[in-house]
Symmetry: C2
Subunit: 378 residues, 2 copies
Amino acid sequence: MSFSFEVEARDGAARAGRLRTPHGEVATPVFMPVGTRASVKALSAADLRAANASIILGNSYHLYLRPGADVVRQAGGLAAFNAWRRPTLTDSGGFQVVSLSALCEIDDDGVTFRSHLDGSPHRFTPESVVRLGRDLGPDIMMPLDVPPVPDRGAAETERANRLTLEWARRAVAELARTEGTSSTGRPQALFGIAQGGFTAAARRDSAAALVDLDLPGYAAGGLSIGEEKELTREMLQVTLDSLPAGKPRYLMGVGTPEDIVDGIGRGVDMFDCVLPTRNARNGQALTSRGPLNLRGERFARDFGPLDPDCGCEACREYSRAYVRHLVKTGEMLGGRLLSLHNVTFYLDLVARLREAIVRGTFESMRANVLSKLGENSR
Amino acid sequence: MSFSFEVEARDGAARAGRLRTPHGEVATPVFMPVGTRASVKALSAADLRAANASIILGNSYHLYLRPGADVVRQAGGLAAFNAWRRPTLTDSGGFQVVSLSALCEIDDDGVTFRSHLDGSPHRFTPESVVRLGRDLGPDIMMPLDVPPVPDRGAAETERANRLTLEWARRAVAELARTEGTSSTGRPQALFGIAQGGFTAAARRDSAAALVDLDLPGYAAGGLSIGEEKELTREMLQVTLDSLPAGKPRYLMGVGTPEDIVDGIGRGVDMFDCVLPTRNARNGQALTSRGPLNLRGERFARDFGPLDPDCGCEACREYSRAYVRHLVKTGEMLGGRLLSLHNVTFYLDLVARLREAIVRGTFESMRANVLSKLGENSR
């Protein structure tokens, strides 16, 4: 089975869709838990299935370094290697090259960098990243792109847009050249990543040029990197307005529950973020009534569930007092239970919003969800 | 339901029994996973049930410090607090007081120590430890005992034996005085701990004196603390020979798979050890063919299961190559999968030996098990 996307229902700008991939179907909007190094931190494949995850991410940069593309290829691809067995998406690695590696140098042909692990020299090109995607075997791969360095003006944004487009074209060509070489033996889709920094015109230009390539899906990249939330949302809207209605739209690396509600309202179909698992490891439960810091003394004798609205194993079986004890004593089970809950909460939230879109009640659901999310801070 | 023990089958000195506790039945011989701070490290209650654990340990010293006896009491006891809900045993805390705390001073009445966490002063007496057991609510509690300081001669051993016996008598009296005050509302059993250092006569004296108290079970304490394995086994045998056949016999803090096979052959009914979970966190799989260090390069492309003879989730779902990747990259799932496997391996090993005892084939099973355990080192 190959790749397809259809919009099944609309409510305002929000849409409910269905993405078909060779590893299974994904109902959209969808939140994709992040399995940076082929593991959604602290969670097993069974946990992710119990949480009703439908697609998870892997990070090309990290997997390239460890265990190495050849090991994942030999395993039969990422979804076989980590026993997930369902749809996967890999990012381009470009973001990690810029943010993690030492001595990163971008030229017109590609990017040279040193590993953050051992300083060893490496090079990614648009073509090598597609071949890496062939080895890793995700259903959806992202091309190597170039976000503009912030605050370097219009020339930098123009250069980044130009390279992002050229590299997307080269990735498309390499994808065609390497057809049939996926480690999974199944077809793979290549999305485009629209950049453009924080200028509306450059955002429009980047998206429009990529749309000409007629890719099976598009992402908004380079957002939520420290800028004001209003600016994020303005730039997101400009990008979304420039993308075709019939293709999936992916907002990369976003975000809080509120950000996801906002994005769905604008017609975003796919999200990924490390926030639920990262915050879990810091002792934070993300709940329908807002975040709870389980380190707080007030939970020491709170024998209620993390989130009374949640049916995950952590909320069904364990109390806030016990999870607090685990967090305070540094027991691994604490981060695990909070990760399971937080990921379940994100997935349930998006599933409920999808259902509201189908029923045409998205606006009232959004208002209810946002009001409740603010409860703990009122 | 109260506490009882019966031996159902014997094969040589080995025996298969059944321990009835207010939280459920325990088929013996049994391995008890250690949940030091109310969590068997990295494992959930569901994991432990899937591994067919029947009774788990909690550590009095650690739980007394965090979250505190009152929190566990308010939760309804240890088995409610950690959602295990089945039989539990708590140790006396004496071993941790001596090995972990600062400035531990033993007088005839009790032990004064400083917390290893914050240096705060605390005192345990035989009575306070029983009351702590009432708060923690285990089915079986161990009394505060006094292992002799090694290499201090006969007078020290005599003093330790005398205090261990006196304190056991005081614990029995306090147990009677506090009847009906368990946090679980259910009866609790108090075992005896036979000490005696590494002198056969002192071992016999300690056991015999405790047996006069007619306790519902007896442990061999003060073994496997660094002495030669031959000496451990000799002293264990002396202790076992001095204990009544109709009561459960518990070898505390032991040991390797080989030690457990040996102990079962001598008629030990209960074992606990942190080895399977501790070694898991260090990247070691304990298998039917001996230990495997998953950090080894030779596992990088080994797509077989951790242990082909094991049916646990880790072995069913994941490869050695993937677990190695998790261990090498420090992913929490690595320690979790290895903990699940190692605990399952211990529990399965003991269950298989129990079945052999029932069938009268213990000797051939032991020979097979030991031969196979040596395979990886041959």
